[in-house]
């Protein structure tokens, strides 16, 4: 059962990721990204990280993909012709990706993986995560909060309309 679910979710994730790359329309790409995220969230559940799956769906599907769709709507890039890819680009990117895949698969084949599978620590329980986040990782949590503040201020400054500066007499 778990095996079947793993294969189905992996197939869904990989095929939708391929469609994100291949589809010509940016809105379709965003939608396929959404399905890919759902597949990865399912894999997280199979890995006994239900909480992370939930957070992934909330943050990515709820915020990031919605933001992407808003920006696509805002920019309205329909008039830009969908040019076919140049053969040179296709060849170069295929070779690059194939080299990366070759390296990763070689690494996988030579790796030694931990044999006995330990019991799940957290599951869907929040407590172990909270204990870690508020003891060992307290300083990173503070820093990340500060980073979010900085990002917010940066976005406000970036998206302000730049009016031509008035000449001082």
């Amino acid at each position: 059962m778990a095996n079947l679910l793993f294969y189905a979710l992996s197939l869904l994730t990989i095929s939708c990721a391929a469609l994100v790359v291949w589809t010509k329309n940016a809105v379709n790409a965003a939608m396929f990204l959404l399905v890919t995220l759902a597949g990865v969230a399912g894999l997280f559940v199979l890995l006994d990280a239900a909480l992370l799956a939930f957070v992934l769906l909330l943050v990515y599907a709820g915020a990031v993909v919605a933001l992407f769709l808003f920006i696509i709507m805002l920019l309205d890039t329909r008039h830009e012709a969908l040019k076919p890819f140049r053969p040179m680009t296709i060849a170069a990117s295929t070779i690059g990706a194939a080299l990366l895949l070759l390296g990763l698969v070689t690494m996988l084949r030579r790796a030694q993986f931990p044999a006995p599978v330990p019991d799940a620590i957290a599951g869907s329980s929040l407590k172990p995560y909270a204990e870690q986040l508020f003891t060992t990782y307290l300083l990173p949590v503070q820093i990340v909060g500060f980073l979010l503040l900085a990002a917010m201020l940066g976005v406000i400054v970036l998206s302000r309309k730049h009016e031509p500066r008035e000449e001082t007499p």
């Binding site: 790359v21 790409a29 993986f113 599978v117 990002a151």
Partner: protein, 110 residues
């Protein structure tokens, strides 16, 4: 002699998850190289980020620790901030140049 990679890929093992994560990362990399639309390039970057989180969660699960999973929290936070800033930059760029195709964003060339 280790068994071939395909034989190791199943739900009960780490190699399967790492293989899926590698494929996802490679697809994102391919998209970043191939696509011309800045927004789609950005989505492919997100794919690569998601692939790395999948690898982290899998490693953390099969090693019996929680550190990788906690790290994923930080990655998700950073990713959200990064998307906000990046999309703001793209909008500012679009206001200035009226295009999001990377081929036409060549003011710094020559």
């Amino acid at each position: 002699m280790t068994p071939p990679l395909i034989a190791q890929i199943s739900a009960s093992g780490l190699p399967g998850y790492i293989f899926v994560s590698s494929l996802l990362f490679v697809l994102g990399f391919f998209g970043v190289l191939l696509r011309k639309n800045t927004l789609v390039i950005y989505m492919c970057l997100e794919l690569m980020l998601i692939a790395s989180t999948l690898a982290l969660v899998a490693f953390s699960r099969f090693n019996g620790t929680l550190d990788g999973s906690v790290f994923v929290f930080f990655i998700l936070t950073i990713a959200a901030a990064e998307v906000a800033v990046g999309l703001a930059i793209i909008v500012a760029l679009f206001r200035l140049r009226h295009t999001v195709q990377v081929e036409e964003l060549n003011r710094l060339k020559n």
